[in-house]
């Protein structure tokens, strides 16, 4: 087919060629292919690279290297954080406070914990997708062990005030976990300065490889490992350390500087929105000013999102989170923000990233405008709810 434009950076991103090159050097027989846990020279060479990568990751997010546990991604990190902390909590403190706009890997883990006897207290967001810290404070009770709130929402880009949350959690003597899968390279994150206890990270949203992430666990915080076998990573997460993946994460994080990249992304996003704003009724789900610079979620009333995505199928965008894009349900995030189903289903998430160009953004805006017009004409005389 004709051209192909990728605007789904919030689902995943291509690996930066500089990162790919460093990963490659850990693979073949002339590289650092050893098992980092092996006592010999090949192992030690690999372990040195792992430790360098650990330092890079920690430098980017303000974390103590001793607290970083590498995982297979943020899904595993979220599972480890929630299950690990609650399994270690005393029986009378098995309550988790979280929000209704978390990623599925937090939502489903919370539901699994609920089924296992934990209590979950759900907090809503406002119409812009922002969780008020006071709402979280109200949800914390004497049985609360852990609060889990994401940093940047993957569907709307809404940024939560994690420093305020950390402050109030500390005051109340509960732990705070932050899912920061979407933040790195886009929104500044300083785990230490904010006072966050546990933080989930992933590489593939920041031009690093898929299948590697980390859970930061502030030294002193206790949690039950969720995988058993082997002493790797102090027993917190056994399994052969995948050197090339960890090195990829380290070098991706070294490059992912929100101060350098954020303004460019923000400008592209604004340019995209300016193009789309010409479409009658189009509106931003979330807040253009306070949101993360790489995500733009727009409602196009009067069109079905699946049809719009199909109509512009040379442009890769998403209905919301990638995991739910096959299902006909309205996004739980947009619903929590109060959008009617038809409007939520007529929304599209654009994700902008390192290799996105202004020309691509202009192209996308023009194509969307043309197809919205076509689909609306096709639905002329449809009942009012279709364009709610």
């Amino acid at each position: 087919m004709e051209r192909s434009v990728y605007l789904d950076y919030a689902a995943t991103s291509p690996v930066d060629p500089r990162v790919a090159e460093r990963m490659l050097r850990c693979l073949t027989a002339d590289g650092a292919f050893g098992n980092p846990s092996s006592a010999h020279r090949h192992g030690a060479a690999a372990m040195r690279l792992v430790e360098q990568a650990r330092d890079s990751v920690c430098a980017r997010v303000g974390a103590e290297p001793a607290g970083l546990v590498f995982t297979s991604g943020a899904t595993e990190a979220n599972n480890l954080a929630l299950k690990g902390v609650l399994a270690d909590a005393p029986a009378e403190r098995r309550q988790l406070v979280t929000t209704r706009i978390e990623h599925k890997s937090v939502l489903d883990t919370a539901r699994a914990l609920e089924a296992a006897g934990c209590e979950i207290s759900w907090v809503d967001c406002d119409t812009r997708g922002v969780v008020r810290p006071e709402a979280v404070a109200e949800a914390i009770g004497p049985r609360t062990a852990l609060v889990s709130v994401m940093h940047v929402n993957n569907e709307t880009g809404a940024v939560q005030d994690v420093a305020a949350l950390a402050g109030l959690c500390r005051e109340r003597g509960v732990l705070l976990h932050v899912d920061a899968a979407q933040s790195v390279g886009k929104v500044p994150l300083d785990i230490g300065a904010a006072g966050i206890d546990l933080c989930s990270l992933t590489a593939h949203k920041a031009c690093g490889p898929k299948g590697v992430g980390a859970l930061y666990v502030r030294p002193g915080v206790r949690l039950e490992p969720q995988l058993h076998g082997g002493e790797q990573q102090r027993g917190l997460r056994p399994g052969t350390l995948p050197t090339h993946q960890i090195v990829g994460m380290g070098s991706a994080y070294a490059l992912a500087d929100p101060a350098g990249e954020g303004p460019r992304l923000r400008e592209l996003r604004l340019r995209l929105w300016r193009g789309l704003a010409a479409i009658h009724g189009a509106s931003v789900n979330g807040d253009l000013d306070s949101g993360a610079p790489h995500i733009l979620n727009v409602a196009f009333p009067g069109v079905d999102g699946e049809s719009l995505r199909c109509a512009i199928r040379e442009i890769s965008v998403s209905a919301g989170s990638a995991c739910t894009s096959d299902s006909p349900e309205a996004s739980h995030v947009l619903s929590t923000m109060g959008l009617p189903d038809a409007r939520a289903l007529g929304s599209i998430r654009f994700g902008i990233g390192r290799f996105t160009t202004a020309e691509e953004v202009d192209y996308a805006a023009a194509r969307v405008a043309a197809e919205v017009a076509r689909l609306r004409a096709l639905a002329d005389a449809a009942p009012r709810w279709c364009s709610a």
Binding site: D304, C310, P328, A342, L378, A379, W385, C386
Partner: protein
């Protein structure tokens, strides 16, 4: 979501979308529609009859690509058929020919409903159960 090439072709340029030309309008023009809010779908057909036969069918739709393609397929097939054909729309065959996944069945049934509404207006007798 996978779409068959036939779905894509019809979705990209549905030949029967829109309104009948109206030239012969007073010779029997009916419209019928159906919707399912929970499925985010609405379909409307306009049927022009002459001498008991379908002279033209046009549709409008709010819905997914499968719905639009299926409405187009149905409208096209009805051309020149007797009015009774409005009640004989073969949804399983549409699914087969356009390779539409099962989970879209609910939406396709609204096409059946909208055409049945047209048949009602014309007075095509409903099949006995």
């Amino acid at each position: 979501m996978d779409y068959s090439s036939e779905v894509l072709r019809r979705f990209d340029s549905p030949a029967t979308a829109g309104e009948t030309d109206g030239a012969d309008a007073d010779a029997g023009l009916v419209a019928g529609e159906a919707e399912d809010r929970s499925l985010n779908v609405w379909v409307r057909f306009q049927v022009q009859l002459r001498d008991g036969a379908i002279r033209d069918v046009r549709f409008r739709a709010f819905g997914c690509p499968h719905t639009i393609a299926a409405a187009d397929w149905a409208a096209e097939r009805l051309h020149g058929r007797p009015a009774a054909a409005l009640r004989q729309i073969d949804v399983p065959r549409i699914r087969r020919e356009l390779e539409i996944p099962t989970e879209k069945l609910g939406k396709l049934l609204r096409i059946e409903d909208a055409l049945a509404a047209c048949a009602d207006r014309i007075g095509v007798p409903a099949p006995e159960d």
